[in-house]
Symmetry: C2
């Protein structure tokens, strides 16, 4: 890809809108000078912010719209008033029309997913989309999907998730054959859901060229970083993600209260504050901000709604990587392999 | 209950067997002098340990068996060689025959659940058993169930879990009307599983006298302690539990490594070590050790297999409370209410 990476931004999305999106884009541009942006939003709000960033100004085209999707609206409402004209929709449209390689929004997740499904449609071979999250682990980072796009699903759906997740791991972690595990439960008397077992057999049989299927993993394997890609349907995945977030916040709270209780602890905190800063960095959700919508005809990145400029920049970086290293092509190749294998074994069976 | 609480112990269960069970029983006996124990295990191993605890010795009957269930065996294997004669089975038998009020084992979870189902059978009105866990939260503790006994289940199953969990909360937390939430996912475009929504409607309609149903909760509500009882089927529940354990271990690891990196941090650690000890206590899984098997004709407590005497004592304490404060009666009363409500509305409908 010799040309620039073209990134469409929903400038009005998220709790803080353009005041986070514009400086976030600037931060990412410094890291990736071969990016260019199309910003969709209210010119009266966005232009004054852009004026403060001359470098970004030179890499941006601003398209006006005064319709923005509200964070609290239901997807159906958002579609009704926001189709064809909201900043969120227009960012997706840029991808749909081939004017941008990726769209990034910090807006309403439900609305963004509903519009993405409606407008971009799912890829051939994928029936339902997924949201993939980057998850900090003891070994670095892993990809967990689906964290909430699609509830339930059969073995074939899980295989599709494995294909998409491993393609994303190749892009984000620069791996030739990422390791993949199916999330399951280990209590002996229940050996896991039927579809998870069947997906395991399919994954072993398919022998994907760019995926190393290692078997079942359990909830505590996620944080250990046992595999590069953890695959599960959206209900369990969302509960795992939220539970981990809740636990991290809880332990942070315990730590804060423990460190402020006595003079000794406060002094200790002062002496160790660099260590605490390192710890906070490790736990910093901004650093791994951005869920990736997978399975659509186009790359869409969802940034956390409450994030700041640094966090939004991380989401834009992620979008840059996905476009630059051709995520969709990689997914397409693996899906093609999958279809070929299925056809061959069907041929062999007949 | 004027008489003593009679506790049957599988003396051979767990990674450390009698060397943890015997001192654990002693610790619990000091806290609850109105307990008495039946220990099942190999006399040659257990008796020498008992000799060291004269107080416990006076409250114990030791029953010999030289068959113990191995931690790594599958439930089917365990049932084959352990039925009628293993220390685990005999502890359950004491409950079955009314010789004990509760059984506690640190042994193989799958085997214990399989034997419990096979031998004690489920209560009238409950089709499938559950495992309830005590979960440390920012507000204290909550009960989460099912953490892995039964995969899936319809709305009626979830209502049963709510009934059993709230009865347990009345016993453990001494509450008149514990708050109950159904675990669900909050991503807008998917409004949750059909059975979860239906269970919510049933719980609202039933208006149980000893339960305050507050609606859906998400994964991060568990650690916040938003409700006293979090209800979910066993797949998602097990994944939530294991993910939280993994996250806690991961953050502990980050903390350790951050605190040992520089001289300042090490000094800080020394000054703050009391605070760190408080923190470790809060995160101590031994303090909340013990899953409760619910829905059976008898109370069975599963202690963590790798626990020490303090942790095993916590599991015995839990068993004591369940027996002393009549868990099974409380579940039975609520189930009766449920049946009455169903009959009344069926009558009204006809």
């Amino acid at each position: 890809m010799p040309q620039k990476v073209r990134i469409a931004l929903d400038a009005m999305g998220g709790d803080h809108g353009a005041s986070v999106v514009v400086p976030g884009a600037e931060i990412s541009l410094v890291r990736h000078p071969d990016s260019e942006f199309i910003l969709f939003g209210d010119t009266a709000i966005v232009q004054p912010l852009l004026d403060r960033y001359p470098r970004l100004q030179g890499a941006v085209r601003l398209v006006h719209t005064d319709i923005a999707i509200k964070m609290e609206d239901k997807p159906s409402q958002a579609l009704r008033y926001g189709r064809w004209k909201s900043s969120m929709w227009l960012a997706l449209e840029a991808v749909k029309k081939g004017e941008a390689d990726v769209a990034v929004s910090a807006g309403n997740t439900g609305a963004l997913m509903a519009m993405s499904k409606f407008y971009l449609k799912t890829m051939p071979g994928i029936e339902r989309p997924a949201i993939a999250a980057l998850w900090p682990t003891l070994r670095g980072e892993s990809i967990v999907l689906d964290v909430g796009a699609t509830i339930g699903g059969d073995a074939q759906h899980l295989v599709g998730l494995a294909v998409m997740g491993s393609a994303m791991a190749r892009v984000v972690f620069d791996l030739e054959r990422p390791t993949v595990g199916l999330l399951n439960i280990g209590v002996e008397e229940v050996k896991g859901l039927e579809e998870v077992r069947e997906a395991g057999q399919l994954l072993r049989a398919s022998n994907f060229p760019h995926m190393q299927y290692v078997g079942f993993v359990e909830g505590d394997d996620i944080g250990k970083g046992t595999v590069d890609v953890v695959v599960t349907e959206g209900f369990a995945g969302n509960i795992a993600l939220k539970t981990a977030e809740g636990t991290a916040r809880q332990l942070g709270e315990y730590l804060r209260s423990a460190m402020s209780r006595t003079i000794g602890a406060k002094l200790g905190y002062l002496l160790a504050r660099h260590a605490f800063r390192t710890l906070r960095d490790k736990m910093d959700p901004r650093k791994v901000n951005g869920g990736v919508f997978l399975g659509l005809n186009g790359v869409v990145i969802k940034s956390h709604g409450g994030t700041d400029a640094e966090g939004f920049a991380a989401a834009v970086d992620l979008g840059y990587d996905m476009a630059r290293y051709a995520l969709l092509d990689k997914i397409g190749q693996e899906l093609h392999h999958s279809t070929t294998v299925a056809a061959t074994s069907a041929g062999a069976a007949s």
